[in-house]
């Protein structure tokens, strides 16, 4: 199980990011990418445990004995959720600065970028990033808290 997780999790993560990025033109998007990322992290959780992300990947000491609500990883998830909401609201409010209504989106085409030649930058991507973060944060919060029971 752990071997499988070691192999699959990076692939799943890369896939989820690519799904998230291509979402504007091909099937994908913030929600799907978010759920897939969650799936990858849950896979780690099932294979190892909640602390593995911190101790194994980031190489930090883990203080044990705190309740699940104060657990550092869960706090990080909750912050992700909050950050996502902020990004979503921020992307909506940003339109005010240029005089557009709330949540107005726009896009630009950049040409001449190395490798990709032409890149489209849509402000909707920021909004989608917020969606991504909210989905990841809330799902992981739920999963970790409930499974700690």
């Amino acid at each position: 199980m752990r071997t499988t997780a070691r192999v699959t999790v990076p692939i799943v993560l890369v896939l989820s990011i690519s799904l998230f990025l291509q979402g504007h033109n091909l099937p994908g998007g913030g929600f799907i990418g978010g759920v897939l990322t969650t799936a990858a992290l849950v896979l780690i959780y099932v294979a190892y445990d909640l602390d593995y992300l911190e101790s194994g990947v980031l190489g930090q000491e883990v203080e044990s004995g705190t309740s699940i609500f104060e657990h550092r990883t869960v706090l990080a998830y909750r912050r992700t959720l909050l950050l996502g909401l902020l990004v979503v609201f921020g992307s909506g409010v940003a339109g005010f600065l240029v005089g557009d209504p709330f949540l107005t989106q726009t896009y630009v085409h950049l040409e001449g970028v190395p490798i990709y030649h032409e890149v489209e930058l849509a402000s909707a991507l920021v909004f989608d990033l917020g969606v991504f973060l909210v989905v990841v944060g809330s799902l992981l919060t739920i999963v970790s808290v409930v499974s700690a029971e």
Binding site: H24, L26, P27, F69, L81, G84, Q105, A124, F127, T141
Partner: protein, 798 residues
């Protein structure tokens, strides 16, 4: 002359503003707040007095697209009522300042009284049905607070609750009736509107529209029920005598002069709109019945305020009956008596308050010969009580005579059973004379029971009833003066055709004059037998429950209480699965009922389904069956996954790759989660009880049927043309949103606001689960500390 919007709005708003400020005023002024209230009432009165003679509708739009706005119609009828309310309000506030001396809770008292006065002005002047309803309910609400003024007293609380239930229940009927009228306006006025003035202007079209849709009788019944509850008509009269636990100024103001007249006022208002044979039958009969029953009960009463309460019900019946008849005299009787009744009944209540204040009792059997100590009060009572009895030349006589003329004219034209109308009216008037004399008798004759020293009442107590009695005397001497000043305008507003009111003492004999003579002579002749009569009525009232409507009320309230006490634990038992069961079942049944009532059965094109889709769906159904019958958790989870993946494949076949991708990802996540909890689940729960199994199966089928029907009925068929919205999104995705994935562009750009809402839902779900888990842990801690607290078992958590 057109009315002035600012003046009218200010007149209505000032009492409400004062009501909000009442606690502050009380802190500054103390018991003199009553005089401040009188000033407020006088301000409203003065503002409205400037509008006398004007006629018309003014509105200030708020949401023009929905026709929502403040709208007032000024005419004689509304002004008469509003001026009465504010004028008597001035006197009642002055009286209160003295009468409520030394009482507690005065800030609340004055706030409620002021709010009440503002609501009455609102009802009288508003012509937007929504506003009328709001003000109507506000009068009930402030009346509730005022009746329950003595919050420590159980009887006071009981009576306040009873008045609230009856009048607010009537208010709900009014709401339904007003909605029916608004719907009928669609046919008559070309659009749903709440504009009562427009409805009254097009009354022919409104009646035709109501008749056409078969809603005329329901609308009539609802409006009349609402008015009957408010105006204490039989069989909903029982709350009024109970409301007499309120302080006397409240009884004089709310329960004689104003609030109970709101129903009468509204009947007069819609009379031109709803006049029809059904109206006559219902309203006139109701009014005459109440007139008689109220008079009989008043004869049997021994408490001064109780007598006046039943007498009020009886006189309200007189007004209702007047409005019930489809003759000119009827409307005249109703409008003129509204004024006359306020002028004689309010002072009588205030007199009852003085007597209770000075003599210390309200029992009529113990009171007698008070004129020696209270000469001015006795004179006031003389004018008012004789007016109440309808003795010429006092003002009550004129309006009662108009009712007699109305009944006689109706009976003369219709013949047959219609002769009951004048007969009943005369009999009721006989008893009216009896109880009027009975009330007056406490001032004349000899002392009946030893009463300690009786003080002269202070000017603030005698002044208000004296002012009202003087007004009554003026109307008695020169009735045409009052008619020309304001009553004529009110008569015109409530009449179905043209009407010109002329009143005066009769100069020659006519049948209605004979009816008056019979009533007066009969009443005086019956008076010596009052006690025997009262005993007979008492026996009737004490009969088993069916005769007493208050018994029905008690029965209904106690049944409702016990039923809800039994029903509560059934639904609200602390187990999440029970909540889920009720919510899912109720939602599904409601949705299915809605579909069954409105939608037809669409055609199902079973043959045209492609083979691949059929295969996928059949596998999905088989997997679904397998989940239910799976022997172990692992098998169940895996078969559930098959079901999920089949649905994903179905999405691919139906060319919805985004959905398919989402479904696949979610399915994977769910599978992982099951892996997480699988080892913790007990392998064996308990033997399944067949009853529980059946219940769950029924619920599952219900929810499934609801989802199936919703999808079937709400989505367009595959062959249908795409809607204009869909075409817009497809066309605009690339140029407007810069993305070729239409679904995603819709999500993050066109409908980003919806997505934002969904994200909030996800967040709320996360927070809710956090809270749930926290509370569960706390609950367990509480239990481990030794408390016997029921904790839901693990199966309830998601």
């Amino acid at each position: 002359m057109a009315p002035d919007l600012t003046v009218v709005t200010t007149a209505v708003a000032v009492p409400f503003v004062a009501a909000v400020l009442a606690p502050l005023l009380y802190r500054v002024l103390g018991e003199r707040t009553g005089y401040a209230g009188a000033a407020v009432a006088a301000a409203s009165f003065g503002l409205l007095a400037t509008q006398v003679g004007s006629h018309g509708t003014v509105r200030s739009p708020w949401i023009p697209a929905l026709e929502v706005g403040l709208q007032f119609t000024i005419d004689g009828w509304g002004l008469l009522f509003a001026l009465l309310a504010s004028g008597i309000g001035v006197l009642v506030f002055v009286y209160s300042a003295r009468y409520m001396h030394g009482e507690s809770g005065l800030a609340r008292y004055y706030a409620a009284l002021l709010a009440f006065m503002g609501s009455i002005l609102g009802v009288a002047l508003a012509s937007d049905l929504v506003f009328i309803f709001v003000f109507w309910e506000l009068t009930s609400l402030s009346s509730f607070v005022l009746i329950g003024h003595y919050t420590e007293d159980a009887e006071s609380r009981y009576s306040a609750r009873m008045a609230m239930v009856v009048t607010v229940g009537g208010g709900l009927c009014l709401l339904a009736g007003l909605l029916v009228l608004a719907v009928a306006a669609r046919g008559a006025l070309g659009g749903v509107t709440f504009d009562l003035a427009a409805m009254l202007a097009n009354d022919e079209a409104m009646r035709a529209s109501l008749r056409e849709s078969g809603l005329f009788v329901p609308a009539l019944a609802l409006v009349v029920t609402a008015a009957a509850a408010k105006s204490a008509q039989v069989p909903l009269h029982f709350w009024l005598p109970n409301a007499m636990v309120a302080p006397t100024p409240v009884s004089a103001f709310l329960h004689s002069a104003t609030m109970v007249k709101v129903g009468v006022y509204f009947l007069g208002r819609v009379r031109p709109l709803m006049m029809s044979p059904e109206w006559v039958l219902l309203v006139a009969t109701l009014g005459l019945l109440t007139m008689t029953v109220g008079a009989l009960l008043a004869v049997a009463a021994t408490d001064t305020k109780e007598l006046l309460a039943y007498s009020t019900a009886s006189h309200l019946g007189l007004m209702v009956a007047g409005f019930g008849f489809d003759v000119v005299y009827g409307g005249e009787a109703g409008t003129f008596h509204l004024l006359n009744h306020a002028l004689f009944k309010a002072p009588l209540f205030l007199v009852a308050g003085i007597v209770a204040h000075e003599a210390g009792t309200r029992n009529l059997d113990n009171l007698g010969g008070l004129w020696r100590e209270l000469p001015i009060t006795a004179a006031i009572t003389g004018v008012a009580a004789l007016s109440m009895a309808g003795i010429p030349p006092f003002n009550g006589f004129y309006s009662k005579e108009l009712l007699f003329e109305a009944t006689y004219e109706v009976a003369h034209e219709a013949g047959g059973l219609a002769w009951l109308y004048p007969g009943v009216a005369t009999v009721a008037s006989v008893f009216t004379v009896v109880y009027s004399v009975k009330f007056l008798a406490m001032f004349v004759g000899e002392r009946r029971a030893p009463i300690a020293d009786i003080h002269r009442p202070p000017l603030a107590l005698v002044g208000p009833p004296a002012a009202l009695a003087t007004a009554a005397a003026v109307v008695s001497v020169a009735p045409q003066l009052a008619v020309d000043a304001i009553v004529q305008g009110a008569v015109e507003a409530t009449a179905t055709g043209k009407a010109h009111l002329e009143v005066g003492l009769p100069t020659h004999f006519s049948p209605p004059v004979g009816m008056s003579a019979v009533a007066i002579v009969g009443g005086l002749a019956t008076y010596p037998f009052t006690e025997r009569l009262a005993a007979g009525i008492g026996r009737g009232v004490d009969a088993p429950i069916p005769v007493r409507p208050s018994g029905w009320y008690d029965c209904a309230v106690s049944t409702a209480t016990t039923t809800s006490a039994r029903f509560g634990p059934l639904v609200h038992n602390g187990l999440l699965r029970t909540y889920v069961f009720w919510v899912a079942a109720a939602g599904s049944v409601l949705a299915l009922a809605g579909f069954a009532a409105t939608a037809g059965v669409p055609e199902l094109d079973v043959v045209g389904v492609p083979l691949a889709v059929t295969v996928v769906l059949v596998v999905a159904v088989l997997a679904g069956l397998a989940v239910v019958t799976a022997s172990s958790h692992v098998a169940g989870v895996l078969t559930l996954a098959i079901l999920g993946f089949m649905i994903a494949i179905f999405f691919i076949l139906a060319s919805a790759p985004d959905l398919a991708l989402t479904q696949l990802v979610v399915e994977t996540l769910v599978l992982l989660l099951f892996l997480l909890v699988l080892q913790r689940l007990p392998s064996f729960y308990a033997d399944v009880r067949p009853l529980v199994l059946a219940r769950d199966a029924v619920l599952s089928i219900l929810v499934g049927a609801m989802a199936f029907a919703s999808v079937l009925l709400t989505t367009p068929g595959p062959d249908a043309d795409p809607s204009s919205v869909a075409e817009y999104y497809t066309a605009q995705a690339v140029p407007g949103g810069g993305g070729s994935n239409v679904v995603n562009v819709v999500l993050v750009d066109f409908r980003a606001f919806d997505t934002l809402g969904e994200l909030l839902v996800v967040t709320v779900a996360a927070i809710a689960i956090l809270v749930l888990v926290t509370m569960r842990i706390r609950g367990e801690e509480a239990v481990t500390e030794g408390e016997e607290e029921p904790v839901s078992d693990g199966g309830d958590l998601p």
